[in-house]
């Protein structure tokens, strides 16, 4: 494990320049978009004095050349300062930290659901290959893959909240509800059901397809015949010998999709008014609130780097042939 620790440390160190590269690229890309925060604020606040606008630009540091702004930004990041969101009258760090937990909860539950449902569906489809079950799973997977997640979300909302009244329409908790800790957890869980399914089912559909293909591929391999020749039952063959090997492509995909899931959560958070980081960054892009966009993306890239590392560690546990370098 000591070797693993060293490898993890090395990987994290290697990630530092990657993250800074991402920062620089995003910074430059953002600055290619027309308009800046001051334009938007001036429009919202009806500032009519061009001199005032220049003062504000100077105050926000937007009057300097791009490369100076970038250098300043990187310098601040090195000092763990993500800058100030003038729009929110709050440091970027505070703005993000306030909203991050909601997104992390939504994403982790969605991913867990996606892996569990998708994985299980894939395994069942592969065991019952070319039967009614298999076809049914394929059709459902195609529906959830093809239908836009916001539409799925809205339909769930109409069905489960408006028609059946089973679940709260949106938000993360009941406003003004005074609960015990257990009550609060239950309350958030009820609010979490629809958004996490709406976000997770798309990925579940992908995992189901990949899992099925992977299971079928592995089930044709020699060592599976060996397992059968030992006299193992089909369930044990499937869940021990096939599944463990078939998980590898799913885990790979999982690592790759962490980033896209962050993007997908923007849509779902918007539909379900989930107070996460997705809606925040969407708004920030529209208003050219670049320190905040940068902050969120920086968080996001660090999250992806860490998650990928975690995926590699899982991969290593799943497949002894792979070693972390």
């Amino acid at each position: 494990m000591n070797r693993t620790f060293l490898a993890v440390r090395r990987r994290l160190l290697q990630a530092v320049p990657v993250v800074f590269g991402i920062v620089a690229i995003i910074f430059l890309l953002l600055n290619l978009s027309p308009g800046d925060l001051v334009d938007v604020m001036a429009a919202e606040e009806q500032i009519s004095d061009p001199q005032v606008l220049e003062q504000i630009r100077a105050e926000y540091g937007l009057d300097k050349p791009i490369y100076v702004q970038l250098a300043n930004y990187v310098w601040n990041i090195v000092h763990l300062d993500l800058g100030y969101s003038f729009r929110h009258s709050q440091p970027v760090w505070d703005v993000i930290v306030e909203r991050l937990p909601a997104t992390l909860i939504l994403m982790s539950v969605s991913m867990a659901l996606a892996l569990f449902i998708g994985g299980l569906a894939g395994v069942v489809a592969s065991i019952k290959v070319n039967t009614l079950y298999d076809n049914l799973i394929s059709v459902v997977a195609i529906i959830f893959f093809a239908a836009p997640s916001f539409w799925i979300g809205l339909m769930m909302m109409v069905l489960f909240s408006v028609k059946l009244g089973l679940l709260p329409v949106s938000g993360m908790y009941t406003i003004g509800g005074d609960y015990s800790l257990a009550g609060e957890i239950w309350d958030v869980t009820r609010h979490l059901v629809m958004p996490s399914f709406a976000l997770g089912l798309f990925y579940a559909a992908i995992y189901a397809r990949v899992m099925r293909a992977s299971m079928l591929e592995v089930s044709g391999l020699d060592f599976i015949r060996t397992a059968r020749a030992k006299g193992l039952g089909e369930k044990r063959v499937a869940f021990k010998h096939i599944l463990r090997n078939a998980l590898l492509p799913v885990v790979t995909l999982f690592g790759l999709q962490l980033g896209t899931m962050l993007a997908g959560s923007v849509v779902i958070e918007s539909v379900f008014s989930w107070p996460g980081i997705g809606t925040l960054v969407f708004e920030a892009v529209l208003t050219r609130n670049f320190p905040l966009v940068m902050g969120v993306l920086l968080f996001g890239s660090i999250l992806v780097v860490i998650a990928n590392l975690a995926v590699d560690l899982v991969y290593m546990r799943l497949d002894p042939r792979i070693e972390l370098r």
């Binding site: 391999l221 020699d222 060592f223 015949r225 060996t226 397992a227 059968r228 020749a229 030992k230 006299g231 193992l232 039952g233 089909e234 010998h241 463990r244 090997n245 799943l318 497949d319 002894p320 042939r321």
Partner: protein, 332 residues
């Protein structure tokens, strides 16, 4: 005394989109305890499908056993349910496969895989199973068996892996061991070691061994009896010495002719032609198109198995005539 394993008229077909492949057609043979029976033929002749049929592991679809009996003791394995068959597999009949490189699960340690075999059929504790596994690793001559126990397959050489496969197969003292081309994928020096090991273990365990091979050289050293297969059928069966001394079937003769043998300086001959398609079988003897001794009858009629003496069987009109000419009793 009745034989350990009796195979009667085993017929296994593969139902493919191109048509029905008659992979095994009316195959019969017996196997006694403590005996090594070699199943010999070119690749595609139905040897491996025979092994899978005995194990109840014919891939379905496309394969299916359409007829015959496989008697182990007084049970017909073909009539058993999948669940009952699971109790036989790895327990009473075990199998060693051709490809040691891919036949072990890469994500479990070799020790765990042997332990799994033990635990599947024996009511023992994990610790006892572990001890048994180490014992087996030792038995198949793996140095430092305790150390190797926790190794993953990818850390072992091909020969070592095949030893692990053998250890796994022997885990539950099987009555019958089927070894499907166990040495084909190995280096020549390793081949000899593994074959020696198999021979020794057979004696030690008193198993009936079915050795499937295309290599008559392998047969010579280890087998007691030989069944030669061609295009899904048995064409000749004889004690190993008889096969080498006086092969009856032209195909067997061809096989021997294509085999390098010490002391014989003559040129190796190859059997002309290729194995026929198993889908569109001609009405006559399936070897007839390649046979130098083929007669008109051979192309119209399938030769029956003729028993010659008390231990030999051959399916060939030409061979029958030849033998009859020598004045031996032919019983068809």
């Amino acid at each position: 005394m009745s034989p350990l394993l009796q195979v009667c008229d085993l017929t296994t077909h593969l139902f493919t989109v191109e048509g029905v492949v008659k992979a095994v057609e009316g195959l019969s043979f017996d196997l006694d305890a403590d005996e090594t029976l070699a199943l010999v033929g070119e690749s595609g002749c139905g040897k491996s499908m025979t092994a899978l049929s005995l194990m109840g592991l014919v891939p379905d679809p496309p394969g299916r056993i359409v007829g015959g009996q496989v008697l182990l003791g007084d049970r017909d394995l073909l009539q058993l349910s999948e669940h009952e068959m699971q109790k036989i597999r790895g327990n009473e009949i075990a199998m060693v496969f051709q490809e040691p490189m891919t036949s072990l699960n890469p994500v479990f340690t070799v020790g765990d895989q042997i332990v799994e075999s033990v635990l599947t059929h024996r009511q023992v504790s994990r610790r006892q199973a572990r001890e048994r596994a180490v014992e087996l690793l030792d038995l198949v001559r793996i140095p430092d068996p305790r150390g190797r126990f926790d190794d993953y397959p990818h850390r072992l050489s091909g020969g070592m892996r095949q030893r692990v496969m053998i250890a796994m197969a022997l885990a539950c003292d099987p009555d019958v061991l089927i070894a499907d081309e166990p040495t084909t994928a190995l280096d020549v020096t390793i081949q000899a070691q593994v074959l020696d090991l198999l021979g020794e273990l057979q004696g030690e365990f008193g198993m009936g061994v079915i050795l499937i091979t295309h290599d008559l050289g392998v047969v010579a050293g280890i087998a007691d009896r030989v069944v030669v297969m061609y295009a899904g059928r048995k064409v000749e069966e004889a004690p190993v010495d008889d096969i080498f001394a006086s092969p009856l079937h032209p195909y067997t003769q061809g096989l021997l002719g294509s085999m390098p043998r010490p002391g014989l300086e003559e040129r190796l001959r190859e059997i002309p032609g290729v194995i026929p398609s198993l889908i569109d079988m001609t009405p006559g003897c399936s070897f007839a198109p390649r046979c130098a001794k083929a007669m008109a009858r051979c192309r119209e009629e399938q030769p029956d198995h003729a028993t010659i003496g008390d231990a030999r069987v051959v399916a060939c009109f030409a061979a029958e005539e030849e033998v009859a000419g020598r004045g031996l009793a032919v019983d068809t």
